[in-house]
Structures are given as C-alpha cells and as structure tokens.
C-alpha cells in the first residue's frame, strides 16, 4: 500500500498552459518519474514526458521539481513530506514543446561551436602516450551526461534570453576546460576563444551549475575558475605576458 501524492504538473505548450492538479498513488521506493508514468497511464494519457534509462545516466528526464532543476528518475518520493504538494514543471530556461518536454537544441548548437580536439600531426597512431595524472582532471568532465540541468539553472541565460547568442554555458565550459587541459590537443587559442566567443567572462561563478549537477562534477571549482585563471594568464596579467615574451615561449597560449 502506497501513499497519495498531490502533484501540480505543467500542461500545455508554448502558446498556452498552466498547472494541473492531480492526486496519484506512490509506492515505497519509487521516484518522481514512476509517479509521472502512473499519472500518464491512469489519468493523463497524453502527458508528454521525455525519459529513457531511469538510472540517472541518460540525462533525458530533466525537469524542475518544486522549482529545483533535477532528474525525475533520481528524485525519491520519500524525500517529500506527507501532504506536500509537489510542483513539476519543464526546464524554464528553454522553449517548451509540450507539457514536460522542452526544446534543448540551443545546447547542440553551442556544442558545434566548440572547436574539436586536434591531434599532433607528427604523432603516428598508437604512439600517443599519456600519464594517468595528466588525464584524470579531464576524466571528471567526461562524466557529464548532458542532462543540461546546469544550463537550465545558469541565470546568465535562464534570466536573460538575449545572452544565449554570446554565452555557451557551464556544460561547454567544462568541455573547453577538458580540451585546454588535454596534454596532446594542439589547438592553442582555447583560452582566448573561451572569453571572446563562448562568453566565459559572463559567468559570475555563483555555483548553481555545481549545485544541480547529478554527476557531482565540480564545474565551477575545477573547470570554470581554472579557465578564468588561464584567461587571466593570456589576457589580463601583464607580468605573465612579459615573462612569456622574455622567455620566448608560447606555453601559455
């Protein structure tokens, strides 16, 4: 025997919509995605919801639960009080398609703007060797499941639609950091492009991206701030610039 949950679910599309109240039974051990599926099966057959793995690894069921960007499959029903009304809305930084499904194509466009890894031309296949300590920093960033919760919560685009043109967002800052820290990547102007093309300077490091990351990637501390410091190296620090000129090396580019 489960308990009755009171949900308020967004129903509608870009033109019109609102919150619909519904009561649904929840069993012990269930997550919010389970009860959404029960609502869909029993009460709202046309409720649109995007989901896939139900294991917190595909990043499909991103939505906002009581105002917080979360994965529905990783949000336990038991974490809510008896009698509490749970509000479930689509991601509010992106255009809504229908009900809980949003159009996240903004992120795919931004992904295409990041210049890909370039391998050293003089290194033959099989000759590339890297120490574990050189790649482990980047490996943290490879845990990203592209749920786009960090993008959704980032106030730079969530609260300012006009910034979407010039700001890539935290998900792509970890991509840029991963590439810039890669010992073999030959692209040498990632710091400059992070600032000029991807809008790194817009970030005011309020760490919301880190707070919502379901993979617990320390986005701000390990990617954004290190990238900001690298940008300072090449753009704002006269002593570093002077040092690189005197020592005639381009190691910081």
């Amino acid at each position: 025997m489960g308990r009755i949950l009171n949900l308020r679910i967004f129903r509608g599309n870009a033109a019109d919509g609102g919150l619909a109240d519904v009561a649904v039974e929840a069993m012990e051990g269930e997550v919010i995605l389970d009860v959404i599926h029960r609502v869909q099966a029993e009460q709202m057959n046309d409720l649109a919801v995007r989901w896939n793995c139900k294991a917190g690894k595909c990043g499909s069921c991103s939505m906002e639960i009581n105002g917080k960007p979360r994965l529905a499959c990783m949000t336990r029903v038991a974490s809510f009080e008896d009698g509490e009304t749970i509000t479930i809305t689509p991601l509010r930084a992106f255009p809504v398609i229908k009900d809980l499904v949003t159009d996240v194509s903004f992120n795919y466009k931004k992904a295409m703007e990041v210049r890909a890894y370039e391998h050293p031309v003089d290194l033959k296949p099989g000759d590339a060797r890297m120490q574990q300590i050189d790649v482990e920093r980047s490996q943290e960033f490879r845990k990203c499941i592209e749920c786009f919760l960090c993008q959704d919560t980032c106030h730079v685009i969530r609260d300012h639609e006009e910034n979407k043109k010039s700001f890539a967002g935290p998900r792509f800052f970890i991509r840029l950091a991963e590439l810039d820290m890669h010992p073999l990547d030959t692209v040498r102007n990632r710091k400059q492009s992070a600032q000029a093309e991807h809008g790194l300077g817009m970030c005011n490091i309020t760490k919301c991206c880190t707070e919502v990351c379901p993979e617990h990637i320390r986005i701000t501390d390990n990617a954004i701030i290190p990238m900001k410091e690298r940008v300072v190296d090449v753009k704002y620090d006269p002593l570093r610039w002077l040092g690189s000129v005197i020592r005639k090396r381009d190691g910081i580019l």
Partner: protein
C-alpha cells in the same frame, strides 16, 4: 518585453520560482554577517586607537607604517607614510593598508559568489529569477577588475607574513622579554594560521602552483603541491568565513586588552 523565465516560448508560468524551501535564508545570513563585519571594520579603521598593547598589535593596524603609529607599534620595516590630517583629524594608519586585504577578499572567488547572490541578487538563489533586466557579468568595468585577483592574492601573502611575525612577537611579555606566552599569543597565532589556510586554499594559489600546467607528469613537485592545495581548496569557503571571524576577534581582543577592559592572561 518579457524576459528570463517569462520569455515567449517558455512554459507559461507566472511565478518567479516554485522553490518551497527557505532559499532566502542563506543570502540573508550572508548580508547580516558581512554587513556586521563591514560596520565593525570601518569603525575600527577610523577609531585610530586601542590597537596596540605590548606585545600585541591588531591585525587591522599591522604593519603599522605611519609616523602616526603609537609608540612601539611601528612595523620592523619602518615608516613609509607621514602623519596626515583631514578636517583636523589624524588619518588612521589602518587606512594605508586595509585596502590590500580588502581587495583580496572582494575579488576572492568565494566571496564573489556570496555577495553576487546576497547583495546583488544575481541570482538570489539557484533557479530563483533575478530582478535585473540586463546582465553583462564580469566582461566590463567595474567588474572586469575581478581578473586582478591574483595581485590581491600576492599582496595578501605579504600581509600574512607580517601577521605571522606579529604572532611570533607575541611570545614576549609586556617588557619585551622573549619566552613568554599568553592568551593573546594564541589569538594572534590562530589568526595567522587561518589567514594562511585561507590564502593557501585560494583558487589563484591552486592555479599558480600547478593548475596552469598541461602536463603534470613533467612537473612532479608542482603536481604534488597542486594536489595539496586542491584538498584545501575544497574547504575554501569555510576558511574564508573562519579567517574573517578570526581577524575581527583578534582585533577585538587586542582592543579590549589595550583599553584595559580585560587583562592579557600569561601562561608563562
């Protein structure tokens, strides 16, 4: 025109946030604590008194570099500034130096998060709509100056050295004889320790010791340093608060001793 979460095309919802937790508590707490510190520090900086009680000197006045410093409190590097008067009042020696630790904290990555959220509400909390219609981040003046954090960090290190020397100097008694220890010694030692931990855990420190490298394997010593600083960096927020309280409490202790409100108890 509607902007932010009310932009056309997004879910048509009228609430700025649907968060049900007390999201406003943290920014409110930050405002209260930081404002309290600012008020106290400003009062002490302008008070121009009760900052020295042999062998203790307040961290708000060290190094004391002005000829206006009270007898015995002048730094070992001597005086750089003269005695100046504005509107008939002597300019406090504290005003010549406080700009440096202040700049370190103002540009600190942790404090930036704290005051952007709590004072500027940009945003007040995660997924809570901010009240501003435009946002340019740290791309233009005056906030672009945040990129100078590393210079404030270097200045902060110099101050840590002075305050550590003060703490060592507190192993003397009121007559300047070495080999003594008092509650004031512990207070200044704790203050210097917390300040070193705050500086060592700084993101700029982490970048400087090794974070900027691409190949850790080519720099094993710097890699080791980076791993140590990274461990401290996890606690940077805690050290930021503890060291802030530490400075204020150390100053308060010296003020009370100097004003003869309490006696500096000697262990030996």
């Amino acid at each position: 025109m509607a902007n932010g979460v009310f932009t056309e095309g997004r879910a048509t919802l009228s609430a700025r946030t649907f968060r049900t937790d007390k999201w406003w508590l943290q920014p409110l707490f930050t405002v209260i604590v930081l404002l309290s510190f600012i008020v106290y520090a400003t009062f002490r900086a302008f008070e121009n008194g009760k900052y020295f009680a042999e062998p203790l000197i307040s961290p708000f006045y060290s190094p004391c570099l002005s000829t206006a410093c009270v007898n015995g409190s002048t730094s070992f590097v001597g005086t750089i500034f003269g005695t100046y008067h504005i509107l008939g009042m002597t300019v406090s020696p504290s005003l010549f130096i406080l700009i440096f630790p202040l700049a370190f904290r103002l540009t600190c990555y942790y404090y930036r998060k704290a005051y952007y959220r709590s004072f500027w509400m940009s945003p007040p909390a995660c997924a809570v709509a901010e009240p501003h219609s435009k946002y340019t981040g740290e791309t233009r003046a005056p906030l672009i100056i945040q990129n100078g954090h590393r210079y404030a960090f270097y200045a902060g290190l110099v101050f840590n050295v002075f305050l550590t020397i003060d703490a060592i100097g507190a192993f003397r008694n009121e007559r300047g004889q070495w080999g003594h220890m008092s509650v004031g010694t512990l207070v200044l030692l704790a203050n210097a320790t917390f300040l070193w931990l705050y500086s060592a855990s700084c993101h700029t420190c982490r970048h400087t010791v090794g974070g900027r490298l691409r190949n850790f394997s080519h720099h094993p010593v710097r890699y080791k340093l980076w791993t140590w600083v990274s461990i401290l960096n996890h606690k940077h927020q805690n050290f930021a608060w503890i060291s802030l309280f530490g400075v204020a409490l150390a100053d308060l202790y010296v003020r009370q001793v100097s004003g003869h409100s309490i006696r500096n108890l000697y262990f030996f």
